[in-house]
Amino acid sequence: MAAPCSNTLTSFQKKTRSKLVSIPGTRPSVQNGQLLVSSGVSSLDYSFFHFIGSLLVMEDRYDSYSRMLLKYFLAEGVVCGHELFLASARDHPDDIIEGQSQPSDPENPGTMKIAWRYQNQPKVQTALASSVRFGHYYDVSKTMEPELRQAAKCHSFYQLQETPVTTGSSPLPSPYHALLKSIQTVIRKEGFDGSTPQSKVRNVLRLGIHSLGSVLWGDDVCCKDNPAHCHALTTFLYILRGLLRTSLSVAMVTVPSHLIQNRAVMGRIIRLSDTAIALESFKGSEETNPLYKDYHGLLHVRQLPRLNCLSCEVPDTKDLAFKLKRKQFTIERLHLPPDLSETVSRVSKTELAAGCGTTAMGNKHLDF
């Protein structure tokens, strides 16, 4: 035990660091101190380094993988103890929540035998993983235990069960207006905008909105070339951004962008989100490119967040693909698999044979 050195007492006191509130499931960004949360898919977190504000997911054609991303996002909220808000116009929010996956440990590939010369080489990182573990892994083959799921506070908004309200002078159609009001009410009531006093522990609100812009939301931007409500979706995203900026919340919004014909609208929707990614699934397409045979689809980065800083972090590579293994959904860098066929890097046998003169005919299987 060291003796305390009392001879050098000074009145100097280090100023306590800024009041960075520690909220479960978040961590401050090293770039600008902003709070980041995990999206639920560790390889997605690694690609973008931030999840803050809003993430726009442009759905794949059958909405299978975008829906999965949404479930991961909500599951991560359950595990971190965040509050959830889920809005949907087609499937009932309860069905989406009940389909969440059970958290599990990451798969252990086990040690593999490898030639001793290569043992000390650094492993090629194809699966994107950070050295600092942020976020959890989920086993898609199991649904989340009811006790875990029910421990999370969840608000839902199911468009088909809402009574339409006349919105008076609002430029937004009734479903969008009602959804925004509902989000604002939750933010205010639960104090995510700091309006309630500090009696409660600060928490993050995770908003998930499924298939925004589809006809079930009362919007015709997905079915007409010149929609009557061409500004409804963009106005909605603008107001949503305002709500996210003034509260401790993050949002993941999926949009059936493959149905939107108007490219200008698509560009504006991307600009109004902080991060935007598009999923392109190979299901149902006659894609026979051997490069893609290990994957289920491609992930395109459309926009990276640039909040409170001049420049943004750009990932090393933009060629990303995803695959759904038996238990896990991962995002990887697109790379060529090792070529294990027999004909690789061998001169064609007939060429060799011809070079040896007339006696080569019987020795086709010998390689020189």
Partner: protein, 255 residues
């Protein structure tokens, strides 16, 4: 504030051209770092006591140097609460996008005329109007014609009448055939016609590069010194503390 950009544009916070309308635009890139430059440039020009690196916006706001209309936060009240009070008049375009931007212009006019009478009788000099970003109004349903009317009124008041400057950011999409009637490209073309100086930011035509983030085209309208419009292209790289600009082909990564 980026010193290299000052030398390109031949201006310093102590001596810059007045009555200037500067248009900052981008296509599939982000030009908001240029707005950042102009904001600290003009604040530094007003207050010579500003030290080294930083310009404090909070202080500027308190002193009355900076009037800030935060459209995003105030718009929530207008749309969701259907607030029709006097304070929300500048954002009346949110309720009725078809009606134009007169409310917003009245707010700008009031603010720039008031800026001459500071608290202690000190005058801050000619006003500067900065808009970030004008193309959001297109997403909210305002027509291109209404926006161009608004900028024309602002130019007449701020630049011609009050000898101040205007800096506007417009973000564009790709040039597209079906974009002709209503779109950010049409808006940009109209604004280029009105402005004195246009800074256009785009990515490199060859694709993404880690060391060169893009190219910036500078276009000067003919003035007293020049008899023809001037156009120059520079490459730039944005980093945490600022941006560096260099002639094409002279990036430090290449040399």
């Amino acid at each position: 504030m980026f010193p290299e950009l000052n030398s390109i544009l031949n201006s310093t916070p102590d001596s810059f051209k007045s009555s200037d309308f500067i248009l900052v635009s981008d296509r599939r890139a982000d030009a908001s770092f240029l707005i950042h430059h102009h904001l600290s440039f003009y604040l530094r020009g007003l207050d010579h006591n500003v030290s080294g690196q930083g310009v404090s916006l909070a202080q500027a706001r308190e002193k009355g140097q900076l009037v800030f209309l935060e459209g995003l936060k105030n718009s929530i009240g207008v749309i969701l609460q259907e607030d029709t009070s006097q304070e929300t008049q500048p954002l009346s375009y949110l309720r009725t996008p078809g009606a134009g931007l007169e409310g917003l212009f009245r707010f700008v006019e009031r603010s720039v005329r008031q800026s001459g009478d500071g608290d202690a009788g000190e005058s801050w000099g000619p006003p500067v109007l900065l808009i970030d970003d004008l193309s959001v109004l297109l997403s909210l349903g305002v027509s291109v014609g209404a926006i161009l009317d608004f900028t024309l009124y602002c130019q007449a008041t701020v630049c011609s009448e009050l000898q101040g400057n205007m800096v506007i950011l417009v973000r564009c999409e790709e040039e597209d055939a079906d974009d002709d009637e209503e779109g950010s490209n049409l808006l940009r073309r109209g604004l280029v016609h009105q402005c004195n100086l246009a800074l256009h930011v785009e990515g490199l035509p060859t694709g993404y590069c880690r060391d060169i983030h893009g190219q910036m085209e500078v276009w000067w309208r003919q003035g007293e010194e020049t008899i023809y419009n001037q156009r120059k292209i520079f490459h730039f790289k944005v980093h945490d503390k600022g941006a560096s600009f260099f002639a094409r082909g002279t990036s430090s990564a290449v040399l």
